[in-house]
Each structure stands twice: as C-alpha cells, then as structure tokens.
Symmetry: C2
Subunit: 230 residues, 2 copies
C-alpha cells in the first residue's frame, strides 16, 4: 500500500498482546485470552469515562470507538478498535475515555488486575504490553498529524486507505464502513456534512463508488493515495 506510514485511527497491525510466532511464554498469554465473551449492541458502551478500570477487553467482532466527550457535546474519537485489538490498556485506576460500539460487537473480558499482576512477574508479557501500547501510540500520533495538518479531502482519503489496509476480510478494494458518518466526522475532526460532501466529491471524481452508504469500492487506489497526501 502506498504511503504506508499513514495509519488513521487504527493500529498498524493491531495492538496484539498475544505472543507472535514462537514464544517461551505462550501459555501465560493464553491464560489471558480466555475471558468471558460479552455481546455489545450498536451504540452501547463497553465502559465510560471515569469508570474504574477493572477489565481489559479484546475485540472479537464489530468495531468499538474510543472517544472523549467535551462538556458541550463535542466529541473526538481517538481510535476505532477492530477485532484483535485490545482496549482499556494503561496504568490509570480509571478509564479516561468512552468506549462505545459503532455496530453490534463482541468483546472478550480480561481481568486488568490479574493481567498486571502477571506482567509484574513475567517480563515477556510485560514486553508485549509495552509493544501493544507503543503501536497504539504510533496510531494516535499518526491521526494527530492528519487532524492537525491535512485538509478534509486528505483526511478522508487517508482514512479510507487505512481501513482498506487493515480490514483484510473481504475482497481487495472493498472497504466496509461499520460506523455512522458522525463517527467518521468525530474521528477526523470534521462535521458530518463535510464528510458527506467529501465522499460525494470522491464519487463524482470516480475514485470510489459507494453502495448502500456503508460499502466503499475503491476504483482508483493510486489517485486515492495521491489525494491522501504524503
């Protein structure tokens, strides 16, 4: 994918804690992969800003939006967490963001206390936590660059590219948008109307085609990469 350094609101390859490839402590990782599954309806919260941080969650299905709500209703989405990603990592006693499903989802619940206690003994696990958070940090910084410096068109094009790079489920060049326009707007620091107008412009330019509003077909990925800027 051209412009691979651009990852918007998503971790390059997900924030995986589970040991990759051969690891001496794959068993300890497994222990934390076996939590109870919780079903989340669209718009339901997994946790809220201020809640005690009792669990870490791994997304199994659907998409969870991490967001910060300002007093007057403005909202910034920090990241869309996809299957395989972890949310709720960190060291604070309480959550400092909302986590809300953008569509029906399933998450696996893992005890935060147990995880951290085990990590204080198992250097391998602690290192995997470190790497997972480092990946999230890179993603957050990438989004910051986009929101701070790029035009609406650049942000949207970059967003579509980052989704197409990550969501390797269906066919190449087809990107599902399992979230509302307002979610995309709040991720990119734009308004719903600007997101809609920009998508329309991409359609009239024949760079993308949109089916039922939720499925984007990338017709000209080179042009899309150009529009995304660097």
């Amino acid at each position: 994918m051209l412009g691979a350094s651009q990852v918007i609101g998503a971790n390059s390859h997900g924030a995986h804690i589970a040991a990759s490839a051969a690891s001496s402590s794959a068993d300890t990782a497994d222990r934390f992969e076996r939590g109870t599954i919780r079903r989340i309806e669209a718009k339901e919260h997994v946790f809220c800003d201020g809640d005690p941080r009792t669990h870490v969650f791994r997304i199994e299905e659907g998409v969870i939006a991490l967001s910060k709500l300002l007093g007057d209703g403005r909202r910034q989405i920090i990241e869309f967490a996809y299957p395989g990603d972890y949310i709720g990592l960190g060291t604070l006693r309480e959550h400092i963001f909302d986590a809300q499903a953008t569509c029906p989802a399933k998450v696996r619940c893992l005890s935060a206390a147990a995880l951290e206690q085990e990590a204080s003994r198992d250097a391998g696990l602690a290192l995997r936590l470190y790497k997972a958070v480092s990946a999230e940090l890179a993603a957050a910084r990438s989004l910051l660059v986009s929101v701070g410096q790029q035009s609406a068109m650049e942000r949207l094009a970059g967003f579509l590219l980052s989704l197409s790079a990550r969501a390797s489920d269906a066919e190449e060049n087809v990107v599902k948008l399992p979230m509302r326009r307002s979610d995309i707007a709040d991720l990119l620091g734009l308004t719903i109307e600007t997101v809609s107008r920009t998508i329309t412009k991409l359609r009239t330019m024949h760079v993308i085609d949109v089916v039922r509003g939720t499925e984007v077909h990338i017709l000209d990925s080179d042009r899309l990469a150009e529009l995304a800027g660097q």
Copy 2:
C-alpha cells in the same frame, strides 16, 4: 489545577522510566540512567525520521520537539519533551519522527538494544517502559482532542495551562516559552499568525502579560481555565 485532564503536548508527569519510590530493581534502572551526555544546539536534530533507532534519550536540559514533517513542508509537532522525559521509546527499528531542540539542550544517551535486552529479562523494567509509553499515549490523545475539537483560543489557553502545570521551576503563574511561535503553531495545528493574534487577544483581555515574547505571566488563571474549555 482546574480541568486537570487536559494535558497538551506534554506527559502528565513525564514519561519516567526510573523506578518511583521503593522498587526491587532500582539498581537495574540506575544502570540505564548512566549514559553519555550530549549537548544539542537550538534547532539541531537529536535524531531524524528514518534514522535507525539506536538510542533512547532522556532530556536533561532544554526542550526537544518531536515532529512529523510532511512532503510539502507542513509540520506537526507531536510533543514537547521536557527534562525528565524520555524520547525514542518504542519497538520499531527506525525512528518515525524528527526530534529537534527548540532551544539549547542536553540529553543523556542510553543504548536502545541494551535497554530492551534487559527489559526482556527484568519484568519490573519492562513494566516501567509500559507505563512510560502509556503516559505518552495519554498525552498524545489529549492533544488530539484539542486539535480535533477546540478553537484557537481554547487550544492556546490549554497549552499555557499545561505548561504552567508541568514547568514547576520558577514562580507560580510564570510560564517560560522556550520555543518559537512556529513551534507552538505546529503543535496546536494553527499558523504563526493565529498564535500571535490569540496571544495578543489574551493580553488585551488582561488574562496574561508577555515579557520579551518568551515569558508569560498568568494574571487570571481562573479566566484562562474557562477559556481553555473543559
């Protein structure tokens, strides 16, 4: 400090790796606190985007700006690193940002390879790395909320408050600005002119006073907190 959740371009309490309070492995931490000191001139780079990540640095004096440069010259500053902060953490083989001094500075150079090798054996050290990066992540997300949702006035007021909260050096209510207007602009996703105009407006409102352009006296911190929004 009112609105304490707002931390702009700075880690709440710095990204400290060194063991806090009583720790069983204070000695291993110490081992990494003894690197050679390097003097950095204003505008000089500590490292560049793309350089191999051979060292981690701890700021001893001055301020280092972490930034991403876009192809056409646009720049987003990710964070200002102050004394006590670490830069260059992460798991990638190469740096993905520039690190540049905004004023004369000193950094301590620590071997990245040695640090990570030790961390793979010492869970305590690995956990401290985890916590340091988690703090950076929280700071990056906080800046993202600011840049994505707030007005120029809100961003600037928040920035001044976050600096006054962190730089506990001199008197209360006096904030040093050891960086150019262009650095502040690139942190907040604004232009030099907008930063300048907003500072002027704060002066005419008698919320702050500015001495020699680099020293901000906060005259009405309650009003400043109001202007910073939530």
